[in-house]
Structure formats: structure tokens, C-alpha cells
Symmetry: D2
Subunit: 383 residues, 4 copies
């Protein structure tokens, strides 16, 4: 791939951050992106330190994201192509809107925002500016997840009947947010996370995955939310039922308090002809069963093999989370390079975007409402 590397600036992700460094690793892997500017922290000292670590030139490092955008917008040919936003949820919308209005593409960590109105503001800005907005639902970058999606769309499962979703962790089993764990602190704080706790943090991933794989739209939700951690107001465990278009039923368990669960995101899709299952902690395989036949283990192949081109290593040389994340960055590069091209590639069309972000927040709103009302809430009443 001899095309030039795209240039990006990062907002958030300074020293001590969790997801910022992951974005940088992922952006680098396929050599399509170059980090050249940033507002890595609102604390000037941290911002400067982060810039040194990331080899960002001092004149392109800022503590204020507004200054960053203004400064980049004023540059010539070497200005950034895109802004990557990795701040806490409630700080996504303002820089995203500003970046879009300044003509930059935006890549944003999930969930899209803490509130639906923020998300809708981003949507308006992106449409107005005709710029790309990519939401990093990482798990949709895994080759075997994309293979599941292809299997469903090719009809290999028949009519979908039930979708089992699980995203279970245990890192909030104790109330660590009262200590100095910043990740726990903002994720359990409604002011910074929004109406959902586990719902927003991991539920949006699981919900997106269900739609991504099956292509089905959820039409109603029921939920039973719990906040087991002492003093917590946001859910840390959620039991959710879904009804999809076409009669498929779904079930989702979200937990951040289940001892023994690390990052156990699982999906099983069962149709009238076959079933297929995937587990994020063993991501290079699918278990696939046609009714009446023995179960088959489908292993990710090398590039061009099972799992398609969304892979880099030969079969049986395991890939993981960074490679899935990198796939989104490569796809985003394709999308941006071809943004004005009406024949954008199908690969790019798999990228999660604004619609997915809004849908995720609607799901959170629906689940919160269903819990409160103790009844099914139709999608027309989600948020």
C-alpha cells in the first residue's frame, strides 16, 4: 500500500490513560496512520509529557482541544486528516462537533456520547460537514466476527431464531471507584458516563455486536438492572431480553461484578438450519453446527483464507484485540481515502458510525426505561 499515511491528532489519551495507547498501537499496526498532533490532556504538563512520549512536535501539542483544532485548521498541506477522541463519554461531543465543523474526519471511542442529544449534535455536524465519523466498536474488527456476519447474510444459518449475548467482567466486583482508580471513577459516575453503567460501557458493545452479526434490528427491550456495588447508582449487572425484527429473540447478560470473568464477550446465533458461536477470549475460532451434523471448528485462516482479508498472520498464529482494533483503523483509512467516492468499498461499510452510536444510546435509554417501567419498551420509545 503505497498511498501516503493519513495524519491524525488525538484528544485525550495522555499519561495513565487506558484506551488512548491502544488506539495509537492499533493505528500504527497497518502503517496507514501517523500521529502528528494532540491535546492529550487538559493538564498542560501532562499534555506536554505525553507529546514527548508520542513524538508529537511541541508546536502541535496543546492542552486545550479547541486550540488544537484551530491550530490544525490553520496549517497547510501537512495538517491532520482526522481527530481521534478518547476522552470520557461526556467529553466526546464538543470536540467531535468542532473537529467536524473544521473539516476533519473523526474517529471516536464508544459509546458515542453520554447523552442522546449530544449524539444527535454529532450527527448533524457530520452530515453538514460531509465528513466521516467512525465509532470504535472494536469487536466488529475481529475476522471471525465478520465471518459470522457473512455466514448469516449468506443464509447459512437459515432464519435466525435466538441470539445469546454475554459480556461479563469482574473488575468492579469491589467498589474500587472509591479509591484512586480513575477508570472506575468515571464509569460509575452518571455525570460522566450517562444513564448506563455496564449498559453504556460494555452493553453498547454487545448490542452492536448482535446487530452487526445478524443484520437484525431490535424492536423491543425488557431489562432488570442491578447496582450491587455499595453506593453505586449506575447498573453494574444487567439482565436484558430483546425482540428483533422477524421474530428472533435475544438475551443479554452484562456484568462487571461476576468473579472469574475477565472480558468475556460471547455471542451465539441460532437459526432454523445452523448455529454459530464466538468468544472474544478465544477469538480465532468459530464453533459452527448444522442441524444433524457434527460441530465444526472454523479457524481463522491467513490473509484471503477463512476470515477474509481482515487479518495479517498465517493461520494458527493467533491474532487478538490489537489486530481487531487495527482493522477498524485500516478500514477507516479506506473510508476516508475514498470518502468522496460514491462507490465506497463494502469493507468500509462494515465500519460502525454515527447511526450505530445513536442506536447504542437508544438501547441504553430503552433498557433503563424498561427497568423502571417493568415492561417491554418498543424501540419507538427508546430515548
Amino acid at each position: 500500500m503505497a498511498a501516503r499515511r493519513l495524519r491524525y491528532a488525538m484528544i485525550g489519551g495522555g499519561p495513565g490513560a487506558m484506551i488512548g495507547p491502544i488506539h495509537r498501537l492499533a493505528a500504527r499496526l497497518d502503517d496507514r496512520w501517523e500521529l502528528v498532533a494532540g491535546a492529550l490532556s487538559s493538564d498542560p504538563a501532562r499534555a506536554a509529557r505525553g507529546a514527548v512520549e508520542c513524538r508529537i512536535a511541541p508546536e502541535r501539542s496543546h492542552a486545550d482541544w479547541r486550540a488544537l483544532i484551530a491550530s490544525e485548521a490553520a496549517r497547510g498541506e501537512d495538517r491532520i486528516d482526522a481527530v481521534v477522541i478518547v476522552t470520557p463519554n461526556h467529553l466526546h461531543a464538543a470536540p467531535a462537533v468542532a473537529a467536524l465543523e473544521a473539516g476533519f474526519h473523526v474517529i471516536c471511542d464508544k459509546p458515542i456520547a453520554a447523552t442522546l442529544s449530544d449524539a444527535l449534535a454529532i450527527e448533524r455536524a457530520a452530515h453538514a460537514a460531509k465528513r466521516a465519523f467512525v465509532l470504535t466498536h472494536t469487536y466488529s474488527g475481529y475476522p471471525m466476527v465478520r465471518m459470522m456476519r457473512a455466514m448469516v447474510s449468506e443464509g447459512r444459518l437459515g432464519t435466525i431464531r435466538t441470539i445469546q449475548l454475554q459480556y461479563a467482567q469482574d473488575w468492579l466486583a469491589r467498589t474500587i471507584e472509591t479509591g484512586d482508580n480513575k477508570q472506575a471513577a468515571w464509569r460509575t459516575d452518571p455525570a460522566r458516563s450517562g444513564a448506563g453503567g455496564a449498559l453504556g460501557d460494555i452493553g453498547t458493545h454487545a448490542y452492536h455486536l448482535g446487530g452487526f452479526v445478524t443484520g437484525l434490528q431490535a424492536e423491543a427491550v425488557f431489562s432488570d438492572l442491578s447496582a450491587f456495588g455499595e453506593g453505586r447508582t449506575l447498573d453494574d449487572n444487567a439482565h436484558i431480553l430483546l425482540r428483533y425484527a422477524g421474530g428472533a429473540k435475544g438475551m443479554m447478560w452484562l456484568s462487571q461484578i461476576a468473579p472469574g470473568k475477565g472480558n468475556q464477550l460471547r455471542i451465539g446465533v441460532y437459526g432454523s438450519e445452523a448455529g454459530v458461536e464466538w468468544d472474544q477470549e478465544n477469538p480465532n475460532q468459530l464453533r459452527y453446527t448444522v442441524i444433524g451434523a457434527p460441530s465444526v471448528t472454523l479457524e481463522r485462516g491467513g490473509p484471503g483464507g477463512l476470515g477474509g482479508d481482515a487479518t495479517r498472520t498465517p493461520a494458527h498464529h493467533p491474532e487478538g484485540y490489537l489486530e481487531a482494533f487495527a482493522q477498524l483503523y485500516s478500514d477507516a483509512a479506506d473510508l476516508i481515502v475514498g470518502f468522496d467516492d460514491p462507490d465506497a468499498s463494502g469493507q468500509a461499510s462494515m465500519l460502525p458510525g454515527i447511526e450505530d452510536g445513536i442506536e447504542g444510546l437508544r438501547f441504553v435509554a430503552g433498557a433503563v426505561a424498561a427497568h423502571a417501567a417493568e415492561r417491554w419498551i418498543e424501540r419507538t420509545n427508546w430515548g
Copy 2:
């Protein structure tokens, strides 16, 4: 164990039956039981053929279970101690009541009956006759399931927060009941199975398992039932939420139409201190995780080791379904031998009985009602 073998008669379970032979194998394994009489089929020829295969003397074989009970009641010292009932659900109550009234103990396949009124009739008969009634919820006989129960009751999990239950199969993925599959035919027929399809057939097992392991009583149920098989009226897939006493939440997936699922009964219990998981298809192990510590694989030991005395083989020599079933028969023998003893053993107290049977039917009724009403149904309104 030098005590005499107990004698039993079997009702149902003739040539072609599925669960009858399993009961006979299980009863034989530990040498506590002897099959001496039967009404194996209402078809005289089949009953006679079955009797020969089972080495039942011709004079103790009948086609009519009433004749069996009358005949045995009239015998002297060598008469049976107990009746084992393995007919379809709607045919449990009448022989059970008659056997109890004749002074025999009863061992009955689950669910206890097709209707709650039938179950209550059995309860009255057992109380009046002061005879034992044992319900074969097989999975409670597995050593590692009993170990889970002990771990919970010893407080090793802390306060229980969430219980994940799954019982998934695929044998009804196609509508085989329209062919000559008798098992499928009666299980999909409300007249013979009762109000629940998968709910009654496998849901009662999963529901019992949740209560058995945690000692918690369910207080409310919500459900979303489906009948995916063409023409089916009973549920073949169920998504169920539970609320337990003390604030624990439960989730249950039941399916008989999920391709790739054989007999996948799984339970995970997650508390404030630790979590533990078990899988029927790999029954000799538990996965146990204390918060912050690595996951441990607890393997069933030999007799007296991990898993206690409910086992027969040295550690690492796998046991399975028959051994779990046999455990119920051994425990039933203990129960019956000590029936007039007020100090009956704790082991025996683990045996599922009438209360469990009634509780199971109430659960089915509650889940059916919750589905119809689309709201939580409190246990006071379960049937």
C-alpha cells in the same frame, strides 16, 4: 453395605422407552435396589416382553398399573418397597397416589405432573400415607453440583448476586413430532406435557438446580416464550428472568431448537466474594474464582475427596450421567431405610421431593403467566 436390597416395581419404561432403562441402570449401579415387578406398558404384549427382558417374574408383570399395585399390596414379605414411575407427565399422578395409598414409597420422573392440581393430590397422598416421594432431578446427584451447594452454604461465594442458568438442546430444531418420534410427540403436546414445553421438560431441571445450589427462593419471574417449530403450541425456546430472595438476580435460557446444543445444562453462580461454574457436559470439574485470584479448576476426587461421598471412582476417572442418577437411587435407599427415623441423614435431605415438584410446576405456571401478561409475576401468583 450389607443391608438387604430394596425391591421396586416400575410403571412405564417398556420396550422403546428412553428414561425407563436409565432408571433401571441407575438403580442397579450401587446394588441397593432390585426390580421385581412392573407394569412396563399398558399394551399387554409389550409389558410381557419388557418383563422378560428385565427378568421380572411373569406373575409380577402387569399391563394395568392398578393391577400391579393391588397385587403387590396383597403379597407378603417379598412385596415391593417402592414404585418407580416413568410414564409421560400426565400419567404420573394417578399411579403415584395409588401407590402411596397402598403404602409404597414412590420415585417419580420429573416434572412431578402435568398440572398443579395433580401435584397437590400427590402431596396430600404422601402426607397422609407418610411415605417417601422422590423426584429424579438427576443433576442434583452430580458430586460437583453438590460441592457447589456446599460452597455456597459455607459462604465461600459471599452474598449471591447473580445466577446464570442455561439448558440448551437442539433435538426439536426440526418438527420431528410430526413423524414417529414418540418422545417428541408427547413433549410437544399440551394434553400430555402440561402448560410448558421446554419449560416443563428442561426448565424444571434448570430451575431446581438454581435453588438446589444456592438455597435461594425465587420471588418473581418474567419470561419471553417462543414456539419456533411450525405448528407448535408449547414453548421450544424460553428467555426468563428471575428475582431471588435477598436481592440476587437470575437469568435462564431454555432451548430445544438451538443447533449445536446437545444437553448443555450450565450454571454459574456469582457472589460478592467468588464465582463458580459447572457444565453438565463436563461434569467432573468446577471453575472457581475468588475475586482477585486466578481461576482454579476443582476436580472431583475419589470417594471422600472433593465432591464427598457421592462418587465411586478414583479422581480423574470420569463419572457421568448414570452415576449422578445412581446417587439419587442410593440416597433414596438411605431415605427409605431410615424413613421412620426422625434423624434422617443430611445426604438424604438433598433429595428432591414433593415440594420441589410443586415448586417446579409453579415456576412453569409463573413463567407462562409472565409471558402472557408481559410483566413480572410474583411467586404468590404462580399457579
Copy 3:
């Protein structure tokens, strides 16, 4: 199966024994056998106590196995059909020969004897008496092991190229034989076990399994034996190479000192067209891969399904060690009932017998010689 139960006497297996109770459970499971006599211990008090526990009539219980055989030989129609021998290795031959000479069939725990000359004496006695001799290589009773054998013989693997055998345990990781562990004491004592330690105790199982599954004869052996336990003279870890007829190569790891290994018997057979693998600790499955196709998980079916008739429970209801053992007893019953019939069933022909016992001891002798000589030893020089 309405034929009469066969009657047997047990020699060894009194209170405190490990394998004797397993034989009794296995013999009982399929209702083809009845224990009616015994010399369960050479200690009269233990013999008597064992007889009570096993419901053996006092007059048919002895402390001296010679008295047992004489007494049974003198009985009328109700005398035993067979003798089951579960004493330590060096005490197999004398009662086996005596029982055969008295006209009884013999079922004997493995290895056949502590010395080759003892084994040959048994062979002569069996041939002279025209009685059956069955050696309980338990693992050949597992349905999925038999399925592997069928797959190989049907050519589904092509020409066999390599056979990987592993039997690893850890129960002798510490030198527990110096304490009161009787099992450890006789197994580490050359006077009671013979020339092989792990070789005789578990190596004969693994070696038999390789031949049973592939039908190939080993033609040369090389080995590296170790006795890691302090003061041990017999091997507790063995690394063995094999060359089979037709060019296939084999590799075998035996260990009783490998921490983390319980009873990990595994076999993998790889041919020119496909490979297949089995693991005793997960015995209801095979992993099968045809070159170029995804791996398939073959699950044991119910009776008549995958795994054939050597099974009792429906698919996905796990069977284990006792069921495999019981299969040998059922097959032995078939063999004995049809013993004078030249058209003995194929099923029975799978039963390990004298030839297998002698072959096992020759393997031990060959491995011991190869270790000493540090070179390949051809089978013509095995013992």
C-alpha cells in the same frame, strides 16, 4: 436380555482395595453378572467382612483362593462361571492357572502378571482348558476408542504415519510408598510389580491402546527410563519411541510424577488422509480432521449412534470410566455365553485376552532392555 446372569467369584478386592470395587460396579451395571463367591482377602477377618459387604454367603467366602476354587468346583449347577482376579500383579498367575484348570473362565486385571513366564503359564492353562481369559484393559471399552479403531480399519485415516501416546499421572510425585499407601507400596516394588513401574502399571494400558486402535504391531522399541522418586528402583517416568509394522512411528510418554496430571491418557493417530485424537478425561468426544477440512468434534451418540452399541445413555449425557469397564464385562458375558460357538461375535473379538497380556509384558521387557542397552530393541528380542 433375558439370559441368566453369569456367576463369578472375586479373588482380592477386599476392604480398602482400589480396583476390586470398580470391577464389582462394572460387572453389575449391565445386569449380566452376579457376585456369589470370593476370596476377597488372605486375612480371614477381612475376607469375612468383605463378604458381608458384598452379600456373599458365608459358605462361599474364603480367605484362601485355593479353597475357593476347590469349593466352587465341587458345587453343582449353581457354581460360578468365572473367577475375577484383582490381586497385585505377582499374584495373578497362580489363581488364574488354578481357576482355568478347574474349568472356570478368568477375568483378570492388568498387567497379566509380573513376569513373562507367569503369563506363558496362564496361556498354556487357558489353551489346555479351552476357557476364556479376559484382561481388563479398560480403555478399550470406551465407545469413542472403539470408534477410532473402526475409523482406522475403514481406512478413513489413510496409511498411519505417527501415533502419539501419553499416559501421565502425578500421584507418585512424592515418595508416598514409604508411608502407608499400599497402592504405592506394591506398585514401586519390583518383587510385586515386575520389571516395570509406570511401564507395567500404565504403560501396558497405553501400549495396548495403540495396538487396539491402529491394528498395527510394534516392531522395535527404544526407551529412556527414570526413577525420580528418591530410593525408587522402578521407573516412574518413561520416554519411549516405537516403530510399527508398515512404517508408522510411535512416541509414548508415561509418567507418574508429572504435577497436574491426574489420569491423562491420550492418543492421537495421524495418517496420510486424516488424524483423530482422544482424551480419557473427556472421553465422549473425538477430534477428527481430514487434511484441508476443518476439525470436527465427533460426539458419542446414544445406543446405535456414533460409538455403536457400547453405550447406555442418550447423546450428550456423559458416560465415563465405569461404563467403559462395564462394557468389557458385557462383552465378556457375550464371549463366555458363546464360548463354544465358533462364530463368536465381533464385539467379543475386541476383548483383550492372553495374547494382549503377553504382548504387554514383552513391551515392558523390550523397553527395559532398550533402556539398559541404549539402542533399539527388535520385538524378537523382547523378553
Copy 4:
């Protein structure tokens, strides 16, 4: 990490290559390296095409590696720091020696060379030039492999008793080298690969892993080599026994013809106190068992957690082959930056180098000799 990126040139690895692109991905991941020059192919057109794809400036791209080295040596401050060699085995030595003599560090794919004399020539050149030579035994870069090594060196396993090594594949199960598979063609050709087939290609990895994890030196080898592929002269399956210093015994299965095996590299190390196991296809976990305690699953933690700093993602977000490879490149950067510093980091000391390369070839020579002689060969006679 604000230090400048190191610059490298690649020799080999042009369009169609397998391992060259992997090196480039790995070098990029941690942002310590920059590809600036190359002789990607001896075919000028392919070299040029590769250079465009890799964004190498035309004036720094060559078809002749001699021209590359001369040209880079003549450059000023922006010249390369190191040369990466990814040609077939027999073409490693000449460019390595030349690069070292020109003052460049060298990173070379394994095995070090096709012949021992070539390897010794590299050794002389590196010592004379005082430049670093890094051999990419990728598997030593996995965090959990490094954790195993630490566990052994801390004595957590006690005295090592047995080491089980397995590296099994199936990609040469058919004789694909007769078609157009270039990878298969050179690997099965003694002129290009050296004396070992599977021995050199995967055996050197497994052998290195055994020594890397345990710190033990092998002192004798025995082997049984096979060439099952029709017309093949080099081994495609090898059964190998090892004796290590201190009395530990080893066993190694190598195969490239075992159907169902993808890239199954496994190691188990069993000591007097505990055992630990690792599987390349599930690389984020160890199974660890202290005698008498239940087995524990040790999961790779995030940076600074279990597995130390050789990791990039939070726990339970799987890493794979590229990350392990990248670790070698990061360690190599540390090594090179600190090359003149006598206090080079311990991390860097884990890097495989010339000694490991020579040791690997000696192992191949020893195993080939042992097979021919049919006896143990002491390490003093390895090549």
C-alpha cells in the same frame, strides 16, 4: 518512549514472501523501528515493487544486498542502524557477515543458517565487529513464556524432571512442494534448508523454547526421523529424546504431516514441586499445578501484571503472535540503544542471539547423527 526510532533495512521479504511482512508489522507495533532501505528481492522489478509498497525511497532500494550494504555504509547520519535478514536459510550468512563487517547490527530469522560453518562465520564477524546479532525465536517473546521462565528460575517448580515439547503442523501432509508452493519448495530442499527439514524449520524453535524456559542445557539426543512425503529427503516428522544437565529428561515431537495440527507448539515442564504448561494456540494462559493443589489458570495481565512488561493490552484482551514478535523488536531496540553499555537490561538478555543459533544447528546435527547411528549422541559430538 521519546528516543528516536531506529532505522533498518530488510534483505528478502519482497512481494509474495511469508515472514518478511510479519517482521515489518512486528517492528512497527511498538514504534521503535523505521524501515528505510531494502534489498527485498534479487529480482529488480520485484525489489522495486516491494520498495514502493513499503514506502522505501527508490535510492535506498536495491536488488543486490551487497549494493544495499555498501550504499548504506556510505550514507551519513541517516544511515541504517540494523539489517533484518529474511531470506531462505542458506542465504543468511553472507549478508549477515557483510552487514556486521560494515558496522550494522543484524536481526535474522531462524534458523541462523543452513550449515554450522556458516553460523560460526557469523559468530566471528559479530564478535569482531562488536555488533548485536538477534535471532527471531518468536515464541520467546510471548509474555506467558517469559513468565514460565521466571517461575522455573524462581524455583517454583522445584527440580525439573521432565520437559515435554511438541511442535506439530500439517501443511506438508501432502507433497505440495512439487507444485508452486515456494515456502514448501525451499523447506524440503537440503541445499536451501540444511540437514534438517522439520528439525530446522520448527525443531529449532521447540528446542530453543525448552532451553529458554528451563535454563537447562541438553547433553544428549536420540532421534527417529521420518520423511513420509513421497520423494522427500528431509525429515517431515521427528521423534526425539533429550537428556538435560542435572538429570531432567526431555521428549519432543515435531511434525509437519499431522492432519489437524496447525501450529501447535506446546511445552510442559514438570518439576519436583509443580508443573506448568503452555500452548501457542492459546498463548495468554498458563496451566500451573503445585503437587496436591488444584490446577490454576494463570492469565496474562496487562502491562506490569502477570507476564510483566512484555505486553500491551489489558488483561483478557488477547494478544497473539504479532505481539510476541514485536516484543523481540522492542527488546532488540533496547539492546542496540544500550549496546555499548555494560549494564544492559535483563530484558534484553532474554533475546535469542548467536549462541542460540549455533546451539540450534548443533541440535539439528546431533539429531541427524543420532538417527543415523541409532544411539544417543552426546552434545560434544553434535556437529
